[in-house]
């Protein structure tokens, strides 16, 4: 959305850092003497995939509150396929993504006409509707009891199913890496430029030859695709799903991950997921007060860090790899990215 970094040195250096991080990531399971930490990490990475999906939707200036709903579509698709028809995990996984994306594509044509807060409210209603649907159509979703007996993922050429947290960690790590690479490529491609254009001024974009509807549809579908894939991972990690896991509050959570992480950079949703997933665990022991602390955290965050944590990290990052991106001016500019008002 702004000038790409010109300095070759900077790019090379950042590639180096990313590579280092990846290698580090490979050894994480050894850093956890404690399975629970690993469990949280797996959970956080699953959330990261889904939050990343929402980020793609936000990129076009549409704030969706139905993301958990699309996650649910994915989760149920892959769960039911593997349980009822016992197809292999990978098939269910892909089907989950495509299923969610197709529903998004179908609905998108109609609902993406809505802008700003009206889109937000519609998707809120949509999420509630999907939730009730999950509860009240047992034939499809197992109703309130949810889907029991989901099997852990099985991967071709890998002998036994990925039951252990460590094994699952590598699976979800690969998914996150691929998703991240894909979205990164997407953002820096001409299409990424188009998404920025539509978000910042749909009027101007249209007047200069972009087709906003098409761009928003593609972005929405990609976002929901990731939500679906994440949903599938979620189902095959917890091995049990029920409607209550996909309420409007879950959607809010994914939005929070983007905002607290910083919705304007790829690192945002990932950081957000890594910060927010363990948060309830921190508070779990303050039984009575946990809710209060949870709420206060957000208020404080919005008050002092409305752009999320990435701008802070970004400054450190710049210090690290020299002049990457551009100083000051544009983070606040970018914050308004998902602002329901902008572009409408």
């Amino acid at each position: 959305m702004t000038e790409r970094p010109v300095s070759e040195r900077a790019r090379a250096l950042s590639c180096l850092v990313i590579a280092a991080l990846l290698i580090l990531a490979l050894f994480v399971p050894w850093m956890f003497e404690n399975q629970f930490g690993l469990y949280l990490l797996d959970m956080a990475l699953i959330n990261a995939v889904i939050a990343l999906g929402l980020n793609v939707v936000l990129k076009t200036g549409q704030v969706s509150m139905a993301h958990a709903g699309f996650m649910a579509i994915g989760a149920y698709t892959s769960a039911q396929l593997t349980v009822k028809l016992d197809v292999p995990f990978l098939v269910g996984f892909v089907a989950a993504g495509l299923g969610a994306a197709l529903v998004a594509l179908g609905l998108g044509r109609i609902i993406l006409r809505l802008k700003g807060v009206y889109f937000l409210l519609f998707t809120f209603a949509l999420n509630e509707f999907l939730y009730l649907l999950n509860k009240n159509v047992p034939a499809l979703t197992g109703g309130n009891d949810g889907v029991v007996g989901i099997k852990p993922p099985t991967i071709p050429f890998v002998a036994d199913p990925l039951r252990s947290k460590a094994a699952f960690y590598y699976l979800v790590l690969v998914v996150v890496a691929l998703a991240l690479a894909f979205v990164w490529a997407l953002y820096r491609s001409p299409f990424g430029r188009a998404m920025d254009a539509v978000r910042e001024s749909e009027l101007l974009a249209a007047a200069t030859g972009y087709n906003p509807m098409r761009i928003k549809m593609i972005a929405f579908s990609i976002g929901c695709l990731l939500a679906g894939l994440g949903g599938s991972l979620y189902a095959h990690f917890l091995l049990y799903i029920a409607p209550f896991s996909f309420t409007f509050w879950e959607s809010v959570n994914f939005l929070l991950m983007n905002i607290i992480g910083g919705s304007t950079s790829l690192a945002g949703p990932i950081l957000g997921a890594l910060l927010l997933t363990p948060l309830p665990e921190l508070l779990r022991s303050y039984v009575m007060w946990q809710q209060v602390l949870y709420g206060l955290t957000f208020i404080v965050f919005m008050r002092f860090l409305p752009d999320g944590v990435t701008p802070l990290c970004a400054s450190a990052w710049r210090a690290l790899v020299g002049r990457l991106g551009r100083p000051a001016a544009e983070p606040p500019a970018r914050e308004r990215a998902p602002d329901p008002r902008s572009g409408s």
Partner: protein, 391 residues
């Protein structure tokens, strides 16, 4: 710039805290402390039940520790309860169980309440051979495939039939019923048990309605439900708070028949909400609140937790004592040793009377605690026990 520093501070704190929780070291399992895990709804709608259960467990633990703990071999163990809130959700329960097992290193978990948390947790606990003493209404909770899962609370499966038989015996004029319940797994489960029981005793179910949790105005629902002119209005697994509103509004719009409730106890709350409308209300009660021993327990709880004691909790007071005795006698708390001992138990006599293990017929495994219960009625805003039933 000042704010910038503040920002860094905030982020720093959060990051450190996050790391702290992930890297919290595992405490060595071999101490003179016996850790018992507890998972249940400690916040939100299910809190009254959850706290009642926790109270039962913690008070029982208190008793044991006061009496000098549990001697096994040369070490005597004092009991430490580690309680986590699952917010009445599946993922919450799984997460809590994960933390208890792999971080706190417990191999006995008491709870949770509710079928969804129960079913969600099962995979984790069974694959780790962790003993679970739960409280949920779903039939799926117990099965031969889940050798480590027990249930301390009798469900509508156990008490619906005797309760309804008693009603038919004492009020033969009641011929038809309508059921209202929450649209969740417990609500539907209880309803199905009750329907079966109604059929056995020859009462016709004219209509049933399930409502979403959070519903406040029941008048539209009741208007439709009571249009079928039933003799009995059955509140099913409706939460006490909602039950109170339903009672109040049903009477308001002129329902004169008998109102009864099987699942989800909490009659004091119902009376508090419904007021005079609660008079004549028939229900299943785990205890007789007018019995001195029970009164004492209730007072002890209220003193400790500053809230009324939910009757459900008594099963967990009794059940925890049963569990601790078992550990004492078995001289082990390894899941298998303990499990075999408990399965071998003839019977257990506690505060309220005699308990036995049952459930082969219904669940194919003898892991269901069969407890005595009471048929209670609200008279002039007071709980009156009409009879005690020993299944």
């Amino acid at each position: 710039m000042r704010t910038w520093i503040r920002n860094v501070a905030i982020v720093g704190v959060l990051a450190v805290a996050a790391l702290a929780v992930i890297h919290e070291p595992v405490r060595a399992a071999k101490t003179a402390e016996l850790k018992i895990g507890f998972v249940s709804a400690l916040s939100g709608a299910g809190m009254a039940w959850g706290m009642g259960m926790l109270g039962g467990l913690e008070m029982a633990a208190e008793d044991v520790n006061k009496a000098g703990g549990i001697p096994i071999g040369d070490t005597t163990y004092t009991i430490k309860v580690i309680a986590y809130d699952d917010k009445y959700t599946g993922p919450g329960a799984v997460q809590a169980a994960q933390r208890l097992i792999s971080q706190d290193g417990v191999n006995i978990i008491v709870g949770p309440i509710g079928s969804v948390p129960m079913l969600a947790m099962a995979d984790v606990t069974e694959s780790n051979k962790v003993l679970v003493f739960s409280n949920s209404y779903t039939t799926k909770a117990l099965s031969p495939k889940k050798p480590h899962t027990f249930r301390l609370t009798p469900t509508s499966m156990e008490f619906s039939l005797p309760f309804l038989q008693w009603i038919v015996k004492n009020q033969p004029q009641l011929k038809t019923a309508a059921i209202v319940g929450p649209n969740d797994e417990s609500g539907k489960e209880v309803a199905s048990h009750n329907e079966a029981a109604y059929q056995k005793v020859g009462i016709k179910v004219l209509a049933k309605e399930f409502y979403e949790r959070g519903t406040q105005d029941f008048v539209p629902l009741l208007t439709k439900l009571l249009a079928s002119k039933p003799d009995i209005l059955d509140l099913d697994g409706t939460t006490p708070g909602d039950s109170g509103v339903v009672l109040k509004q049903a009477r308001q719009i002129g329902f004169q028949g008998q109102i009864i409730k099987t699942g989800g106890p909490g009659t004091l709350e119902i009376i508090r909400v419904a007021g005079a409308a609660a008079d004549g209300f028939l229900y299943v009660s785990p205890w007789d609140p007018n019995e001195p021993k029970v009164k004492a327990l209730m007072e002890r709880f209220e003193a400790k937790y500053k809230m009324p004691y939910n009757p459900l909790g008594v099963y967990f007071y009794e059940g925890s004592h049963m569990l601790f005795d078992a550990i004492k006698q078995a001289k082990t708390f390894s899941s298998d040793g303990l499990r075999q001992h408990i399965e071998g138990q003839k019977e257990y006599t506690g505060l309220l009377g005699r308990y036995v293990w049952g459930g082969e017929a219904e669940y194919g495994i003898r892991h269901q605690w069969i407890a005595p219960f009471y048929v209670g009625q609200v008279q002039k805003g007071k709980e009156m026990m009409l009879t005690k039933i020993n299944p």
